[in-house]
Amino acid sequence: MNRQTDVSRRAAMLGAASSGALLWAGEGARAQAQKPSELRIGITTFLSGPASVFGVPSRQAAELLIEQINRSGGIGGVPLRAFFVDEAPGADHLVGEYRRLVQNENVQVVFASISSGSCLACTPLSTELRKTTLLWDCGTQRVFEEGKHPYAFRTQGYGTPEILAPLLYLLKTKPDFRSIGVINQDYAWGRDSWELWKAGMDALKPGVRVVAEMFPRFGSTDFSTEITRLLATRPDVVLSTSWGGELVTLVRQAAERRLFERSTFVLPVAEASMQSLGRAMPAGHVIGARGDHWNNHPRPKDPAAMARFVDGYRQRFNEYPIYPCHHMAQAFSALQAAYAKAIQTKNGGWPNDQELADAFRGLTFDTPTSTITLREDGQGLEDQLVGLSSQGERFPFAVPRDMVIFPAAMVSTPVGQKSVEWLKSLKPDILAQMPAPIAG
């Protein structure tokens, strides 16, 4: 510690008149906070590039939510104001933007990132700058399993439950499959999700033959070669955790060439692409939503809130909200709950950064469909809803039937364990705990 202050002092002297700045910028997280005139939130999301398919709807959702919250008096009487940042230029640019949000725009909270890479880059900064950061959409299990981040909280589920739930569903509904082919986007999520799936599958149903492991380039626009290979090798199951335009292209090309008739597809991130696909999505395949917020949720906790959000979004943007919109809503719901808790703890006073972070730890907040609890490591526990795709009258696109709602605790890695190790240790009796399907 002595050494540090030493260097710090020398730098202060070197930097001419900079000692004032050092004091100013070094303002601690524990300083007493004044109630601000507005509650500033930095939101990083994809506004360009292929992932803007997620980023733009979530931004729209954020704007809608902020309007709604502000109309009803803001949070603790303070109106919200969002500062959006594009994730597309890459992590090196984003960490600069994160600093700008904190140090220049003086945001109280940062909502960080769709991309796992962005999250991994931002969470250490949340510790360094002592700024509460909500990981509002990224899914990598590495964040909380490989490090402690006292100021970071994930207000939704993550890769492990999002993969394990569809796997369990498949094992239950199609227990006799013998071979599998995988076609995932070549980036962290595509690779990680396959590693998670394989670990779980090998533990619960050893001996499944992997006939093709394909990781086409991120942003690919054509999968005909991969589809030919899957047609030729005839796996019983095809797994793809792809999303966005790539999933749409994959499903259309595969449907056109009748791959859906030969193999059962498992698509854990299908929900966001169902509207784009419309009637082109074949029925009878396993689809997931990275959560439980399907439009046809059989028993949402607060149907009125669900309808309010969905209809409000539809009215404004002429489309159904997709899962990133729901994840954004969850982040806002958590924010409201945490501020309420912190203000109450302080008897009406405005929380500083430390007090705000303390309020998030162990917080339980409502979503339209359920409640989410933030564990002691910062990870949120979100239920997973998986079903078989079906086309019906109610929606102009596919939604699940024979739905199973997996309780979050059942499919999430316990605190302190690593996902892959935990999945490897699973025993087939976990299938017995699976709730019964709901027709839908």
């Binding site: 050494r3 540090q4 202050t5 030493d6 260097v7 710090s8 730098a11 202060a12 070197l14 930097g15 001419a16 008149a17 900079s18 700045a21 050092l22 100013w24 910028a25 070094g26 506004l47 360009s48 803007s52 733009v56 500062f83 959006f84 940042v85 594009d86 230029p89 890459g90 992590a91 090196d92 640019h93 960490v95 600069g96 933007e97 600093r99 700008r100 904190v102 140090q103 220049n104 796992s116 890479g117 991994l120 880059a121 250490p124 360094e128 990598t140 590495r142 070549d186 980036y187 962290a188 690779r191 990781f215 380039r217 991120f218």
Partner: protein, 315 residues
């Protein structure tokens, strides 16, 4: 530009940088990255002097950055990692250079592009080693064995980048004025004559290539140490395009150009992104177009009052 004007501009620039970094702490980070990129662009400028446009130069920055990311867990010392990254990039530059200096113009540009894309794919594909597009996080580093607090660390990185930028700018200035540097410029106009002066043009270009790769490696290392996170995006072709962009924005006529360009580029990008988060690319494109059409000498050209001077046409 006269010597005195250039020296004055450099002094003013340094003063402005230090003042900005002091007055707006969050810009300290942006400016450190800008200085680092400027260093990379300075290397690119050497090749431009020979009339060659490398459309894959970002690979050396990425190499330097990944060197830091891979080595940092075992050797978390800034003063070791920085030269190591530069050295490694220099060696890679020598190996690649031996191949690419045999080619000119579009072939030179495209071969560099191809090699950078191969490197990009390696970073992206070998997930088990490189963590793919997620990238690798760089742990906190020591400086001369000390572990400064964040604030000091930021100043040290800023100072390091600034010092290295000044040193390299002076070095490049001297190099370009030397017979070797002048011969390099000769490659652009009359390569045959060089051969008939008994000067091996390829070796002249190779020297510049290795030098530019080394500076690229140092730049990449600085970026990695500052942003503390590296991704394959650093090697993607658009990153190389960005380096050329900065070079032209700043002006290819002076060793100060790259740094001026990089600072302007990062600031425009940051403010454009803040103002219109989903159309910043269009703003940058517009700025670039305006500079080329109305001030092809770049910012340096504007500052030295020669903005009207059109660049020399193809001979």
């Amino acid at each position: 530009m006269s010597r005195r004007a250039e020296a004055l501009l450099a002094l003013l620039g340094v003063a402005a940088l230090i003042f900005t970094a002091w007055a707006a702490p969050w810009l300290r980070f942006v400016l450190t990255v800008a200085l680092a990129k400027g260093l990379g662009v300075l290397g690119l400028l050497l090749l431009l002097r020979a009339g060659q446009v490398s459309f894959g130069h970002a690979m050396f920055l990425a190499l330097g950055a990944y060197t830091v990311a891979f080595a940092a867990p075992s050797v978390p010392e800034t003063l070791v990692l920085l030269p190591a990254a530069a050295l490694l990039a220099g060696v890679a530059g020598l190996l690649i250079g031996l191949f690419v200096v045999r080619y000119r113009d579009i072939f030179f540009g495209m071969l560099n592009l191809a090699l950078s894309m191969v490197f990009y794919s390696v970073l992206e594909k070998f997930y088990a080693v490189t963590k793919g597009t997620d990238g690798i996080r760089v742990p906190p580093l020591t400086i001369a064995g000390l572990e400064p607090v964040r604030e000091t660390q930021e100043w040290v990185m800023f100072g390091l980048a600034l010092g290295l930028a000044l040193l390299c700018a002076l070095g490049v200035r001297a190099y370009l004025a030397s017979p070797m540097g002048q011969a390099l410029a000769g490659i652009k106009t009359r390569e045959t004559r060089l051969e008939f002066l008994g000067v091996p043009a390829r070796r002249v270009l190779l020297f510049a290539y290795v030098l530019s790769a080394t500076m690229g490696g140092a730049a990449g290392a600085l970026i990695a140490m500052t942003s503390r996170h590296v991704t394959p995006q650093l090697a993607y072709w658009t990153s190389s395009g960005e380096l050329i962009f900065i070079g032209i924005l700043g002006g290819a006529g002076s060793a100060l150009g790259p740094f001026l360009g990089a600072a302007a580029f990062e600031l425009v990008r940051v403010y454009a992104a803040a103002a219109v988060a989903d159309a910043w690319q269009m703003i940058l494109g517009g700025v670039l177009l305006a500079v080329i059409l109305f001030a092809p000498g770049g910012l340096i050209g504007i500052l030295s009052g020669r903005a009207q001077q059109r660049p020399a046409g193809r001979a």
